[in-house]
Symmetry: C2
Subunit: 355 residues, 2 copies
Amino acid sequence: MYNKNKGSKPVTGVKRTEISEVGEFGLIDRLTRNIRIKNPGTITGVGDDAAVIDPRENILLLSTDLLIEGVHFDLTYVPLKHLGYKAAVVNFSDIAAMNGVPKQITVSIAVSNRFSLEAIEELYSGILMACEKYNVDLVGGDTSSSVSGLFISVTVTGEAKKEEVVYRNGAKEGDLICVSGDLGGAYIGLLILEREKNVFRVDPNMQPELDGYQYVLSRQLKPEARVDIRALLHGLDIMPTAMIDISDGLASEILHICKRSSTGCRLFEEKIPIDEETRRISMEFKIIPSVSALSGGEDYELLFTIKQGDWEKIKDVPGISVIGHITGVSEGTKLVTGDGKLIPITAQGWDAMKK
Amino acid sequence: MYNKNKGSKPVTGVKRTEISEVGEFGLIDRLTRNIRIKNPGTITGVGDDAAVIDPRENILLLSTDLLIEGVHFDLTYVPLKHLGYKAAVVNFSDIAAMNGVPKQITVSIAVSNRFSLEAIEELYSGILMACEKYNVDLVGGDTSSSVSGLFISVTVTGEAKKEEVVYRNGAKEGDLICVSGDLGGAYIGLLILEREKNVFRVDPNMQPELDGYQYVLSRQLKPEARVDIRALLHGLDIMPTAMIDISDGLASEILHICKRSSTGCRLFEEKIPIDEETRRISMEFKIIPSVSALSGGEDYELLFTIKQGDWEKIKDVPGISVIGHITGVSEGTKLVTGDGKLIPITAQGWDAMKK
């Protein structure tokens, strides 16, 4: 993490420019002047009525995500630069989940007058850092004031060859269920941040205790999109039959695949990959680690199914875990627990509409 | 208008379902179940990590707009169905301004608990009505709660042949400046609505007096995108050299074209097309009608430049007005008033960031 513990508090000595001083066009000029177009398919970016994109022979993928203050993030512990980075990356993750390559984003923001020009520039520096790392072009957007809070709407395009696109609905009985990386860390990181926030509320002189929590905090504050999995599977000569990214928790995502594919599944609790730090802190919070993985969300790993015949190719690949298999729909969607019990999988994940 | 004076008040006798009762997935199911894909280029719409689009040999256009309660609209006089229609149409207008054809949109909304499921369905019915009329597919989006108010973020894609795309920066000295339709009406419509709102505040038993204001109210509440201009100009064998849609007022838009094209301009006040109703009510408000056109905005007509040699082809075309010409940059951007004075054009248009 490049900015840990800095929070979104104004940096002492840094000038505060009101956005109303520069107006909408002034703001757009400031936010877009450092943009450098990287992709040959991006013919025109910011500055006209629409961006102009040439996908050549490829299929175009299109996805969008909202991030809303007080619902999706809390600026008392999320630095604006991290927030910008994450806002971009969660969109790249949607493209990775289609087996595509992210190419362009548009970013729309609405900000209350609580935010200075410098604060919004900090947010954009995170967005542009993600664009730089993932070789994505920022090609447009919209800006507005808001009555209260910060709203971020990002839309991403991606490219893939038509025959390479992987949907949620292609899983077949007998397919193996695989997941990249490890799960549950982002949720545990959130619990740590919430705990420190509450400590800070009680005694504002307390320093946050974040040592020993680096991994889970980085999972929460600076997630990465698994755009590398596409090349990895291609190199193994494996074409996933279905794929989704894990934004709402493993349980919710496998249910999406099964519902859309009209199948059931068996997930083996003991096969779910969980990092040691995640496991340890989860137990500190008296949460069974697999529950953090199943219901936590925001890990942005990829969940995918492959043909049973690909087992030999993938079984020893580091960073990929085979965690179950697809069944007929009549067998239901079940978790096989460590002691061999079969329990129904239920989505307890994030719902931005529930209280 | 299909719904005038209805406002966004709950309709008596209609059930109110809280969004929290159905949750995010329930809401998405309700909003998307009536979607019917119309374009062969839309391979997959709602329901996966990303929409899948095949632009075939075309260039893809991409644009996005935010609409925020309390900044861009006031639900005390804008019916939700109109709002949805407008949110879609203003995006189609951006594609028309590139000389393209709108094809797909994504719609993201954040709503406070003040809004019922039925209210959001009303909003979407307006969006889908616009999609139906303009042959555009709704292919994705995101939904969330908000701490207060309604936020709408729409992203649109469009298609065009690469050589047909018209940018803002192609105007050349000597080109003629043209505009479709008439201007100023949407702004005057807004003034009427604001006036009636204030009357209503003073005496809630007053009925709004909207007779005689139909045209300007429809311009404000139910704008249309000039997607027809592309075919019209094609039929006349005219290729615009630059084009922009009029969202912020004629003054602001011509300045964009001149800035991006590195030119000046002469606009003739008397040539600016203004409807009789707009003119009459503008005078009632003691506003010079051309000021409504220059600074009002939201007309969503197209402003474009053509080669001088195309004059004969366009001079008698109904619904197109030649209102000036492009000059060298050193001659400045000037309005020629009715009495022959030259005054500098200044953008007094809408700025969502100013107070």
